[in-house]
Symmetry: C2
Subunit: 590 residues, 2 copies
């Protein structure tokens, strides 16, 4: 039997250093070109591309080289030679050399692929997903997959070094009525009963703290049966962390070190710690968002006090109603926005939920604005001072008796303006902690307070007395980590005190029975000695997407699902045999 060509180098690893060496390569044919009686093949593998040249002197190899087409899989034996100076391609690391092919094996033929295996191609995403094995051959997708693997590795190295134990929690678990919609799995051995796929390992990680594991982590698959948006998948990956005998600062500090380590290790980008911190209240006041993008300024300014008693009813009335008037200063906006464009801004503001948008142009001849007439000189001065106005600035205002609406709509407008004015430095990585989230929010539908995070989130100690009097003012020991305006993850210190936990359920309007029905096994566990504990969970797909600067999480997931949660490659989900359903004691009912 003929001796096989056995790879001893990756294509992309060959450089001038290897000149004169006999090498064996394997890979896919990127291109074949015939030129001056020679056959040039660009051979591609995971590491890169190298040029292989076949000349007619090597009859057998030359003949085979003539057969090959794009995406054929071949093995080549040959000698590394320097390219003639005029043929050097300084853009790639292998561009100084070429391999003179001596032997060639065709390992696998290939049909013409439905799209070329190269980056920056325009192909319908469904086609890419259907031929995912071809799509993943493209250098950018290979890069994304390898990047993702490196992120995982760096996370694990750091956490291992810091005493965390990786524990695998069940995928077949119990359906709980809170949270998002569960994926269910019928049980064959327990007729009429169902497992649920976990929305997160939340209860298990708390159980592990009760079990004394002290520091737990897991890169865990989680499942939510929700209608899909661009950055949602039915199954997604969560970096899940929980620690015992810690408070907020311990968790924040450890996670800053984790992020610094991982990002610096994998991307080489320098990360400064500690990160900025902002309370939920500050974030809402300044940015109108609990995940502000701080890569640019344009902070929101509150002028309710200044204009509350003005004759401009639109402003003064909302202030009297307990509402707010807030604005942002668009530096040099006077030139950037024509009158017509300002009208468009007003429409945008309405899209974001505001009733309207007032504005003032700061010109060298004073303020120009339809509303100037309503304010006396002193008020105008105070407004100008408050916004640090300079000639050329454009100030826009939103007023509403619903204070939250003022913040969120102006916050959205702020983001819109930053994009429109190209104010965002794409090279920045602005990490930011948001702390002191509200513990509760009032649910109008259910006419009760519900937990903003979950019922096990601990209130801040100094706010516990407010649980009875003003539940809405109680702040939680909860925190989110935000990167460039996107939430990367969040967590909290959990309640570990039985009496406080009961108080919490009371505040939520839960009967003891209901609490035990929903969370019985955790409450029972808490009776046997529970350490103070807390943790965090990161949406890993999203983190990787952001670090890679991708627009879609699907580009950093090997086999993602489409909008209707199906896989064009495997055709999952699919119909199954009646026998299978019978064994599972279920039937289809459409």
């Amino acid at each position: 039997m003929k001796k096989k060509i056995k790879r001893n180098y990756y294509c992309g690893d060959l450089t001038k250093e290897h000149e004169g060496e006999e090498v064996c390569l394997s890979g896919w044919v990127q291109t074949r070109r015939d030129l001056g009686g020679l056959i040039f093949v660009d051979l591609r593998d995971r590491s890169g591309i190298v040029q292989v040249v076949f000349n007619p002197e090597r009859k057998e190899a030359f003949k085979k080289a003539d057969e090959i087409r794009s995406e054929y899989v071949i093995a080549v034996k040959g000698k590394v030679c320097r390219r003639p100076a005029e043929n050097v391609n300084a853009k790639i690391s292998t561009g100084y050399i070429e391999v003179i092919g001596e032997e060639l094996d065709i390992l696998s033929k290939a049909k013409t692929p439905p799209f070329p295996i190269e980056d920056n191609i325009k192909v319908d995403e469904i086609v890419r997903l259907k031929y995912r094995y071809l799509d993943l051959r493209r250098p950018s997708m290979q890069y994304n997959m390898i990047f993702r693997s490196k992120i995982n590795k760096a996370i694990r190295d750091f956490l291992d070094e810091n005493g965390f134990v990786e524990v695998e929690t069940p995928v077949l678990t119990k359906s709980t009525p809170e949270g998002a919609r569960d994926y269910l799995v019928p049980s064959r051995l327990n007729p009429g009963k169902f497992y649920a796929l976990p929305q997160s390992p939340q209860l298990f990680k708390q159980i592990l703290m009760v079990a004394g594991m002290d520091r737990y982590y897991q890169i865990a698959r989680c499942f939510r049966d929700e209608d899909l948006r661009a950055d949602r998948q039915p199954e997604f990956t969560q970096l899940d962390i929980e620690m015992s005998f810690v408070d907020v600062d311990d968790i924040i500090s450890l996670n800053e070190k984790l992020i610094k380590y991982v990002v610096e290790k994998v991307t080489g980008i320098k990360v400064e710690i500690p990160f900025a911190r902002m309370t939920y209240e500050q974030a809402m006041e300044k940015y109108g968002s609990d995940k502000p993008d701080t890569r640019f300024g344009m902070e929101m300014v509150d002028i309710s006090n200044i204009v509350g008693s003005s004759s401009f009813k639109v402003f003064s009335d909302v202030v009297k109603d307990g509402g707010r008037v807030k604005g942002i200063n668009i530096k040099n906006g006077g030139k950037a926005f024509s009158r017509r464009q300002i009208d468009e801004l007003v429409e945008k503001a309405k899209e974001f939920g505001a009733k309207g948008l007032a504005w003032m142009n700061v010109t060298s001849e004073g303020i120009k604005s339809p509303i100037t007439k309503f304010f006396d000189e002193q008020t105008i001065k105070e407004i100008k001072d408050k916004f640090d106005c300079e000639v050329g600035d454009l100030i826009v205002f939103i007023a509403d008796s619903n204070a939250e609406l003022v913040m969120t709509s102006l916050g959205s407008l702020r983001i819109y303006l930053a994009k429109a004015l190209n104010l965002i430095d794409k090279n920045k990585l602005n990490f930011l902690w948001i702390t002191e989230f509200p513990l509760l929010e009032y649910n109008e539908e259910e006419k009760r307070f519900v937990a903003k995070h979950h019922p096990f989130t601990s209130p801040m100690e100094e706010d516990i007395p407010l649980l009875d009097k003003e539940p809405s003012r109680v702040r939680a020991k909860a925190y989110d980590i935000v990167l460039n305006g996107t939430e990367l993850g969040g967590g909290s210190i959990r309640i570990h005190d039985a009496a406080l936990q009961e108080k919490m359920f009371e505040t939520l309007g839960f009967s003891k029975e209901r609490a035990w029905n929903n969370f019985g096994f955790l409450l029972k566990a808490f009776e046997y000695g529970t350490p103070p504990h807390g943790g965090i969970a990161y949406g890993l797909d999203r983190m990787i997407m952001l670090l890679l600067g991708l627009d879609s999480i699907r580009d950093c997931i090997a086999f993602p699902k489409t909008q209707n949660a199906s896989c064009p490659m495997t055709d999952a989900p699919s119909e199954v045999d009646a026998k299978q359903l019978k064994e599972l004691h279920i039937q289809v009912k459409i």
Copy 2:
């Protein structure tokens, strides 16, 4: 607010080195003893136990110490002191010191646990699983979990170092008709359709090779809805590996290095490589098993040739029928087994499927056996030579016209004898490769050949011509890794040649249509340039169980399921709301 005691040491980390230091500890109360007016507390955390002493001089702390009970969670501040010589406990690393408690916080009270938190207790396993958070507090279970985490880490370190990319494959995937029973997940967005949970990432890992990932690994959760045995779980963890441009030796060699690295790193036990290798045929002949335990000898010896023409019909008839006569020499068995015990052995052999068991006692006065009379002197001599007989040996024989039955029943008897005679050195780690498995086995029910591994397993090149003539004799490029008589994992080189794949399906009696219906997306992928590839998968739970010397995989899984696939702690699986089922377009039908 009172300042909290903030842990700065783990309990088990304190030694004489820390004498005089003020330390803060947190953990669970193992025991509290009152002695000579002092209160002694054994404080436990993940790292170990340390003794804390409270004396009445520290009034406040002493009073609190009086309240605490077993499993209370406390925080202690105190000074490390040397124990008086008479109180030293040299058995534990903290036994030379004690902590004189100055401050004490009770962080959480505890009910009396249903079983003590210590090793070597006899508790019903259902109770252990119901109170898993207590069971996991026991030092041995904490050790197992941490050991498991270390194994995972070592695996990842090695594979990362060797150029493997970790890729996450889907959990919501497509049901395939081959293999074990699938767990199904109804799709809400695709009425009447179902996902299946993966039995292994087999097809995806091959797709990843087609995609050019070159070296893939994943520690993957897999699911099989089978009736459970001691070492089976509905969900289990697989170390999954696949490589491109390799043959059997490459995979075996890499995996030997992997196992050596992981075992040495985590256990400190020296592992010699390369491991022993044995073909499937050799293993069956010598050990009657494709996963032989080679920690002891007692190899099987074939005497069909010697006794085939004897006058002992039981032997000669089976040989004429194409069957076999095989035996094993139980060294010094003559004394170990009384006549009555030999009769019991005969019964055992029957349990293992043999029709009977013949035997010969080698005494100083010659062979004693009911069957000696059937053999002439020359035959007796040949038998004695073949078995290397010495005075005191007991030889047992099994004969059957079904050769395989001879091997498997005698193989089982061999294991039984080794255990009965205590021949197994529990400290040995005997790794062994079994190679050249049969590609096909004849299925009497379906009256056709079926793949022993799966239809993508490559035959050995030299046996390809036999596919037409004698399919049963075709050997596969398949291999299993065996440790101490248990299969740890297995894999194969896959077919990557379209023509050979078609031939294989033909041999299996598959129509082209059926092949495409079952494996369409993989066959389609293979049309676009497929590298030669192969891989392996390890049952990680089982590997960890063996390395820890456990009897049950449930002892190295944090939250395992019971025999009926339920979880006594969470009560999964459970009934769900009718609304949930309606959304999923299914109903229960019992």
